[in-house]
Amino acid sequence: MSAQAAAVVRVPPRRGWFRALGSTLGLPGRVSSAFLLLVVIAAVLAPALTPTDPNTTNLLESFQGFSAQHWLGTDSTGRDIAARLIFGARTSLLGPAAIVVLALAISVPLGLVAAWTRGWRAGLVNRAVDVVFAVPGLLLAILTVAIFGPGLASAVSALAVAYTPFLARVVISAAEAQRRQPYVDVLTVQGVSPVRIMVRHVLRNIGPIVVGQATITFAYALLDLAALSFLGLGVQAPQSDWGVMVSDRDAVLQDHPQQVVIASVVIVLTVLALLVVGARLGGETVTRRGAARRRRKERS
């Protein structure tokens, strides 16, 4: 529904792609992207940014406050919180990135096939999507960990499978909307092969919606992975991860919530930024602006 609206309303931008992106994102989207860029840079440059090693313990320096030596203080075993946060950004971002790439690699071809064919192939994809939908992602991940043991690899592959139906549904509905567009008939009459139509035209037109949904998926994958690490089933100690940092329950019960609160704030801000950018890219602004315009027209 919104997919169709977005496809109809969006006019090809005449300006450069960078400015077009800026106007699509709007102010909240631009602020969010800037924040995300900062997090990515921190993750990439982690060793250069922190003089302290994230895994060096020093029991004499546990639970310290903010200082010049330890910007964000230290945790229960005297490890530098800032260093763990910055190094933790690596696992916290790489995991969801792998999940989204895997899920896209499965869902885009399947979704296009399901949208373009009738009969058993479309039916098969739809049934498979329904069945995977019936298993909550976190549960599938826990089951996988039960079988293959804890770790990032099992968690990532399980969540990639679990998120595939979400992306596949978006691809299917967006591609079906494209299929009804006149240009598809025109190209078909000209003898262009369906594969070429899909790859060169349909994929490009549904791109923004799929990228938007993928960004939202990234946010929820980040949350699920962090939740698994929180449960002790994802990233394993002593490796740093935001979910692991939040899980220090003893520190909370001893009234030293510093590390937990800092990591929580970073997780919430990152997810919020991803959700804002995803919603903007996916065309929420277009529909909302369209709705506002409709309302204004009705009033006048």
Binding site: L139, F148, S247, R249
Partner: protein
Amino acid sequence: MPALVQLLARRLLGLLATLLVASFVVYTSIYLSPGSPESVLFGGRQPSPELLAAARAHLGLDEPFLVRYFHWLREVLGGDLGTSLISQQPVTAKLGHPLEVTVLLVLYAAAIIVVAGLGLGLLSALNPGIVDAGITGLVSVATAVPAFVASSVLISVFAVRLGWFPPFGFGDSVGGHLRALTLPAVSLAIISSGLVARVTRAAALEQNSSEHVRTAVSRGVSRRRIIRTHVLRNAAGPIATVTGLQVAGLLAASVVVEQAFGLGGLGQVLISSVQQKDFPVVQAICLLLVAAFVVLNLTADLIGLLIDPRARKASTA
């Protein structure tokens, strides 16, 4: 209405097929595991071949795979979920109390989601301007606060600093249960409340700007009555569906919260069984949670159809 009955029958058939596939996956998945069930039984010891064969016969592992699956399925349908490999207890007995905890937790969280989600959504839709902007901002942040983050922060503030609620445990009396479940239920409800509030706001705004509401306003119908019979009645379908889907999703999310608060619910038993490789318990809990999730999802869809005749017409046509 035969069309509706037909729709219901089709959805039920789909549900049964989904459950069958899910049960097969859950049953099979255990056999993909590197450690076999009988090796858990013997721990680290090396059994003699005769003992191993006896154990395999006892567990029914000497039969062909499909036979074992149908055997297991028949027992599950008969209410027998097997025996725990670790405690040798029947799984159904082991899961009785945890199930109670999880159901209470999910119901409590569902109540919060309905009240907070509907309330905030309506409040922001009916008060444009600063109230709307404030609530919309709050709701956006809420949709990014996962249960494990919320639980850690809530424990720190309300259990450790203020001491209003216990930091863990399920409590002894009914009042104790409610007190002990408050923080977990709130942690669990935050994301879903935000999503429900967002959908409520959008649906109410859409109705507010529609012609039938404007006609009602010009007829001089009171604001309260317009909201109740024109805005809410028409917006109810999508709101009910989204709320139902969110409540179904709580089942899986409750695993995290139960672990954080040490409530001893299904999720916590699941995690400890995963760590001990107690396969029958893992299978039973996964199957229970998937079944509940699927049934709740279907219920949410059906409630949406029952409330909204237009949706009913669209899906039966």
